[in-house]
């Protein structure tokens, strides 16, 4: 039971972080389908930091540096989306998909190159971080408390305050609803959209490093992040683009994802003798059903997906 709660919380943390990233980007008017790739890049940044940072650094700074590395990678990578979609008015769906493919491919190539350079016979795309991982975890009895749970709550509060209580957030949302109107009162739509995408890169990067630290202590970059970026988008839609509702829906999705890892401890679930793949499929099936039931009433930011063109009415 404790295991289930623990996994639910950590997977929900990932989903909340990434979905908030998507939320910022979409509120500014850019659909960020590249979240999956951004997560991979964030994970890569964090993993490289854990590989090269001396383990002697005190815990707090160590964690901070790893997080900064992940955020940096995520932000830099998301600027690829921003430059193509905002300045060159590229199709946001194509560029997002390209970023997903590019993220996994680039991370694999890079990690393999690093591994091979260290040892010619090592052609794997793995980075292990058994020791560094311990810095992210505190034990409360049996419960494995992960600092990311705190980070997520902070990130959630920050997102809520920024979006609804600051001038910047309200302007950002205006750019996603009616960019022409926003422009007419002197808001620079391009800058706002850049800000939205870069913030989503930061959140996505955080989500990526959180994801690879969630269960395992060795990561194979060939696998990417198994559709988690898209699950986060489903969470965001189910959460109606609002941070507090995103948090609640992420808990639901996180629960079903955690069930896949931990169902063997529940006797009645084991007794049902369902194949394990059923539990693997669960989060995806649930998200499809939930989306089917809720999407017809969903109110997405009105101008999302449409490149802003100053000369248009």
């Amino acid at each position: 039971m404790i295991l289930l709660i623990q996994y639910t919380l950590i997977f929900s943390s990932v989903l909340i972080l990434v979905a908030l990233g998507g939320c910022f980007s979409e509120h500014s008017g850019v659909i960020n389908l590249g979240l999956e790739g951004i997560m991979v890049m964030g994970a890569l940044g964090g993993a490289l930091a854990m590989k090269y940072l001396p383990i002697a650094i005190p815990g707090f700074f160590y964690v901070l540096l790893v997080l900064l590395a992940a955020i940096l990678f995520g932000v830099v990578y998301s600027s690829l989306l921003a430059v193509a979609c905002i300045n060159y008015k590229a199709d946001q769906t194509i560029v997002g998909t390209a970023l997903n493919m590019l993220g996994t491919a680039a991370a694999t190539v890079l990690v393999k190159a690093i591994n091979t350079a260290e040892n010619v016979n090592n052609v794997s795309s793995e980075i292990s971080y058994i020791e560094p991982k311990k810095k992210f975890i505190a034990y409360l009895g049996e419960f494995e408390f992960n600092w990311f749970m705190v980070i997520t709550i902070i990130a959630l509060v920050v997102a809520y305050v920024v979006l609804y209580k600051t001038r910047f957030g309200l302007r950002l949302m205006a750019c996603g609803e009616h960019p022409q109107a926003a422009d007419s009162v002197g808001i620079n739509v391009y800058k706002m959209r850049w800000a939205g995408v870069l913030i989503s890169g930061a959140y996505g990067g955080l989500g990526g490093i959180c994801y690879i630290l969630a269960g395992v202590s060795i990561w194979k970059f060939e696998y990417g992040v198994a559709g988690f970026g898209f699950l986060a988008l489903a969470v965001m839609i189910f959460g109606q683009w609002k941070p507090h509702r995103i948090a609640l829906s992420a808990l639901l999705f996180g629960f079903f994802r955690a069930l896949g890892n931990t169902y063997t401890v529940f006797e009645f679930l084991v007794n049902m003798k369902l194949p394990s793949t059923v539990y693997n499929m669960m989060p995806y099936i649930i998200s499809l059903i939930v989306l089917a039931l809720t999407s017809s009433h969903s109110r997405a930011p009105k101008a999302e997906g449409i490149p802003y063109d100053k000369s248009q009415r």
């Binding site: 590229a90 998909t97 493919m101 590019l102 190539v109 198994a226 793949t277 099936i285 017809s296």
Partner: protein, 376 residues
């Protein structure tokens, strides 16, 4: 006045695609130079050479055949994405529909011993059903087709692994070989294998896939149905206003799109060239590479044939790269860069048109000046 050839859409698409390829290769080269400056040029050369690295002509011919066989599923996935894209839908669920087709074809062949033709039909149906789910969700529940497509990809992948575990070899994660247990399902070769130095995998699949490309071009450009689909893609509300059934068109286009992807899987796996691995942990890349081929081909079925061949060519070329320096994924990296660059195609075309306009204006001005001169 004769139309300026540089102004035609086809020409501009071709130039834009070539620019994307060249830039993609250059960026790839830079990445390789960073990783290991010694062999970068050689590695890019190997990617581009693929089967040409063999010295013997007979071997080259054989591996050229293999490249063609592997181009078939990529081409059909690309056509599947192209077809739905014309209706304004981005069928990223193509990978899942492809997987569904593979599951259906292999299961029917290995478990029930069906012949090749019913197997193909079954695969087409499986793909079409997977496409239909996305279509229904899109048109009746307003679910974004990209997200539902991705979710279905994973669901279908896990389902396929479970179902095909029933027909797998007891000691390995692979399904039984078709050549031993499902001979009926192997596609007829029509004598094509003789052309490629007895490469038994070259079958009727190659000409069929090209035929499908042509059929799709005709349907999209020359029929009322194709016109309706494109109209729905341009403006859903306008199409509805004109009396077209926009929901039906959306579902139908995704069904057809799924069917094409399913056919692609059947035409690939029923050559016996590869077995399904029942522990596959990620969705097959065919559908995603198909996106690259579609946009690189300038959203034109004939262009897509060339683009899919190119992408498959460099992907297979990746296998020959010197493993002590680079990994085979560099070809994935380069195709991903190329898709990213394809996002700039619109911008490139605008730039081209501007340049052409400027040149034409100058010409017109010159003509006028000379006319005035002669009139005096």
């Amino acid at each position: 006045m004769r139309k300026n050839i540089w102004k035609t859409n086809g020409m501009q698409s071709l130039i834009a695609s070539l620019i994307c390829i060249i830039l993609g290769l250059l960026i790839g080269l830079v990445v390789l130079l960073f990783i290991n400056p010694k062999g970068a040029f050689g590695a890019i050369g190997t990617l581009l050479k693929n089967f040409m690295i063999y010295g013997k002509a007979s071997l080259r011919l054989k591996y050229f055949g293999t490249t063609l066989v592997k181009t078939v599923p990529l081409l059909l996935c690309a056509l599947s994405i192209l077809f739905s894209y014309k209706v304004g839908l981005f069928n990223i669920g193509c990978s899942g529909q492809y997987t569904a087709g593979c599951c259906a074809a292999l299961y029917a062949a290995l478990k029930w011993g069906w012949g090749w033709f019913p197997c193909i039909l079954f695969a087409i149906m499986a793909g079409a059903v997977a496409g239909a789910i996305v279509g229904v969700l899109k048109s009746y529940c307003n679910v974004n087709e990209v997200i539902s497509g991705i979710m279905l990809n994973w669901i279908i992948l896990y389902l396929t692994n479970t179902i095909l575990s029933n027909v797998k070899e007891p000691t390995s994660p692979y399904t039984y070989q078709l050549s031993q247990y499902g001979k009926n399902a192997l596609l007829p070769t029509l004598g094509l294998d003789k052309l490629f130095n007895n490469n038994a995998n070259v079958t009727m699949a190659v000409p069929i896939s090209i035929l499908i490309a042509i059929v799709i071009m005709v349907v999209l450009n020359k029929t009322k149905f194709g016109y309706e689909l494109k109209a729905t893609g341009y403006n859903k509300n306008a199409a509805k206003y004109c009396g077209m059934k926009e929901n039906r068109n959306i579902i139908l286009s995704l069904v057809i799109s799924g069917a094409i992807a399913g056919l692609g899987a059947a035409l690939y796996y029923q050559t016996g060239i590869q077995q399904w691995e029942c522990t596959t942990a990620s969705v097959p890349g065919m559908g995603f590479n198909g996106i690259a081929a579609t946009f690189l081909g300038g959203l034109n079925p004939i262009g897509t044939i060339l683009a899919s061949y190119f992408i498959q060519h460099i992907t297979l070329g990746g296998a020959y790269v010197d493993k002590t320096m680079y990994c085979s994924q560099i070809s994935d990296l380069i195709s991903a860069i190329i898709i990213y660059l394809c996002g700039f195609v619109l911008f490139l075309k605008i730039m081209m048109n501007k340049a052409i306009d400027r040149i034409e204006e100058k010409k017109a001005l010159k003509n006028e000046v000379s006319k005035e001169g002669s009139a005096k």
